[in-house]
């Protein structure tokens, strides 16, 4: 019952706020919208205690949906160590962001609708992480996609924002096609969609007769869509059109990590599938590097954070690819803290700047909004990997396994990730410098309006900053070790463990120093940009990926749809047939109507002719 209530409470919030929230006022909406997720969080903590005491996963079968084949399809929840970590992140950080939203969205006319959607998101996200069967996971998977669509397009009066929502939804459909095919293959091979059964089948000595690599890659395509990996990453930067707390909750802390969760949950498949793991590591590394380079050249504070999120998700997938599943979840967990803190901090900055998001028009905010500044700085240092903050531990472990894992680790992978880590530190400190230091570059009027955010927002920032600072001391990989054994190390790399730690500290500090040097004096940044104008242009245009997709996919599809399906199919064939039939009927009627002269005598004559004709016919034939 407890496990069922965890997702059901936010759903109740969705129903209440969605149906009557408008009429019952903002205070009521806030209490329902924040209170129910908090109760869910408390329930998750209770379940966690029970799990720690008993040691065996809690399982709850709610409903048998269909019973055929070998195994019934059940709506069942499972609370094991992995689900526990995910549920606590989702409900904990989710609740914090709900509280923050009461301040951020205070004056929005769609207040009730906003909280209804946010609660709906939590419901589906909790289905996703608690589901015992892939089918329940998939329901949550699609549901969070829906909630994401609704919230990206929350201000749907703006056509661009509505379009960003559609882009996210449609891009995810591509990934979901792969996910579905993977699920079908699994069901065919294993005969059930229960993830524990699938994992057990693949972990046993005689794995099912199906190519683990094929299944693994198909599922990874789904993960690519949800977790914004190349080539399906294009939706996430546009998703920043939604309200900032939404970006923090859905597009940084929770939903986009669903792909990482899913691949970790099905890790026995990937243990067997060396090829799929290589693909994941390669895609992850490429995405991490690519997104980090783009983030350097972006000027929208949220766009920088969006590309940073894509890059960090790439880090997580590298960890998955080299078999360090626990480490991937560790980075997911630390990332949830510092990225949520960064996004909410960015929201607070935007709030202070009366809606301005361009860092070129900021600067010098450190003194004006001190709480936001301090928390933002802590989170920045955490993501850059400065010890002893949370990001340092998880990123260092990823770097270590990228080098040392016996299943896929290589010097090349390590080098790419190290450079990416350097870029990460650089672009994050660039963002910090441009936003908070230097001379103010905003208009006098905007400067006059700068103010610190209300306590509901800064309080949450402080909590998240504390999490970003000390969260790394909680060793998630160790906690998850009963589920995910850490990968075996290559021979002869043990001696490199300490050098890697020093190197990752050095990387973070170099990034900090580099950003300080370049952006401490903006003339230097300007000179640098002028010298590498071509490179800067490509980065600022995000490698023209959107333009490429537009030319390769969108425009041909539009052309085919218009010329073939619309003009030829719909207009010529279908409309033409119907119009033709109507025209035929009209013309025939036009000919026959001439008989209706209104002349009584003609009618009579025709009737007479008819009588004579039929008499003649009956007597002669």
């Amino acid at each position: 019952m407890k496990l069922l209530l965890i997702p059901l409470l936010p759903f109740a919030g969705f129903v209440i706020n969605g149906l009557v929230g408008r009429r019952l006022g903002r205070a009521f909406v806030s209490v329902v919208g924040c209170g129910l997720p908090l109760v869910s969080f408390a329930l998750a903590l209770l379940s966690f205690r029970e799990l720690s005491a008993g040691g065996t996963p809690l399982v709850e079968v709610v409903y048998t949906w269909a019973a055929f084949g070998g195994q019934p399809f059940e709506v069942a929840f499972q609370f094991d160590r992995l689900s526990a970590v995910m549920t606590l992140i989702v409900t904990g950080i989710g609740s914090l962001i709900h509280v923050y939203s009461t301040g951020y969205m205070k004056d929005d006319p769609g207040y009730g609708r906003y909280f209804a959607y946010l609660n709906l998101f939590l419901f589906f996200m909790l289905l996703l992480v608690l589901g015992k069967s892939l089918l329940v996971l998939f329901t949550g998977w699609e549901g969070v996609g829906l909630a994401s669509y609704l919230l990206i397009g929350f201000w749907f009066e703006d056509a661009d924002k509505a379009r960003a929502g559609k882009k996210a939804f449609i891009t995810n459909r591509v990934g979901d096609a792969g996910f579905l095919l993977g699920m079908f293959l699994l069901y065919q091979a294993v005969g059930t969609l229960d993830m524990q059964a699938i994992d057990a089948a693949f972990a046993s000595g005689s794995p099912p007769a199906v190519s683990a690599s094929l299944v693994g890659i198909l599922l990874f395509i789904g993960a690519c869509g949800k977790s914004a990996q190349i080539p399906l990453h294009v939706w996430l930067p546009d998703a920043m059109a939604g309200p900032t707390p939404v970006s923090a909750l859905i597009h940084a802390a929770t939903m986009v990590t669903a792909g990482v969760y899913m691949t970790a949950r099905l890790s026995p498949i990937y243990v067997l599938a060396a090829d799929a793991s290589h693909v994941i590591a390669t895609v992850g590394a490429a995405t991490a590097f690519f997104a980090a380079t783009v983030a350097i050249a972006q000027n929208d504070i949220k766009k920088v954070l969006a590309y940073s999120t894509i890059s960090q998700l790439g880090f997580m997938f590298v960890a998955i690819g080299v078999g360090a599943y626990g480490v991937a979840i560790f980075h997911l967990y630390t990332h949830a803290f510092f990225k949520a803190c960064l996004f909410l901090g960015a929201g607070s900055v935007i709030h202070a700047m009366s809606g301005e998001q361009d860092v070129r028009k900021m600067g010098g905010l450190a003194r004006r909004i001190p709480v936001t500044f301090v928390t933002f700085a802590i989170a920045t240092a955490a993501i850059a990997g400065i010890p002893p903050l949370a990001g340092f531990f998880s990123k260092d472990e990823i770097l270590w396994f990228a080098l040392g894992s016996a299943s896929g680790g290589s010097p090349l992978l390590f080098a790419v990730m190290a450079v990416t880590a350097l870029l990460t530190a650089f672009y994050m400190f660039r963002l910090l410098w441009l936003t908070f230091f230097g001379a103010p570059r905003m208009s006098a009027e905007a400067s006059h309006h700068v103010h610190e955010s209300p306590a509901s927002m800064t309080g949450v920032l402080v909590v998240l900053a504390v999490g970003s600072a000390v969260g790394g001391f909680l060793s998630i990989p160790h906690y998850l070790e009963p589920m995910f054994a850490l990968p075996a190390l290559k021979e002869g790399v043990e001696s490199l463990e300490h050098p890697v730690v020093y190197l990752s500290v050095a990387i973070a500090l170099t990034g900090l120093a580099g950003a300080w040097h370049v952006f401490g004096d903006l003339r230097r940044a300007e000179a640098l940009r002028a010298r590498f104008a071509a490179v800067y242009g490509v980065l600022a245009a995000k490698y023209y990926v959107d333009e490429l997709y537009d030319a390769l996919l969108a425009r041909p599809l539009t052309w085919i749809s218009k010329k073939v399906f619309l003009d030829l199919g719909d207009r010529a064939l279908i409309d033409g047939t119907l119009d033709g039939m109507a025209r035929l009927a009209r013309r025939t009627a036009g000919v026959l109507a001439r008989v209706q002269t209104g002349q009584l005598q003609l009618y009579l004559l025709l009737a007479l002719a008819g009588v004579v004709g039929s008499l003649w016919w009956t007597s002669h034939v």
């Binding site: 002269t597 209104g598 009584l600 005598q601 009579l604």
Partner: protein
């Protein structure tokens, strides 16, 4: 040709003349008279056969036809009067409102 045959032929002729009159003549009054002609053609046939078969049903039926014809004229003449008053003509071709 015996008498009955002759009478039936005359009845048929009367009917045909009436029918042709209705179809070709345009004056509504003349058309009504032609209709009477047709009715009388039928009546003549009825009494001829009644005479021939020595039964009375045919002769009785004739009276029924008379009554119907009288009633019909009683209604048709006022209608024609109204039409003539409205249109100042009895030409049926002028009444073609139901043209398709």
């Amino acid at each position: 040709m015996d008498k009955t045959q002759l009478l039936v032929v005359v009845g048929g002729l009367l009917f045909s003349i009436g029918l042709a009159g209705i179809v070709v003549r345009r004056n509504a009054l003349v058309m009504l008279m032609c209709m009477e002609l047709m009715l009388n053609g039928v009546n003549l046939t009825l009494v001829s056969f009644a005479q021939r078969t020595a039964t009375s049903e045919g002769a009785v039926l004739v009276f029924l036809v008379f009554v119907v014809a009288g009633a019909e004229i009683a209604i048709a003449i006022p209608i024609l009067l109204l039409l003539a008053r409205a249109r100042k003509t009895l030409d049926v071709q002028a009444y073609a409102e139901l043209k398709g």
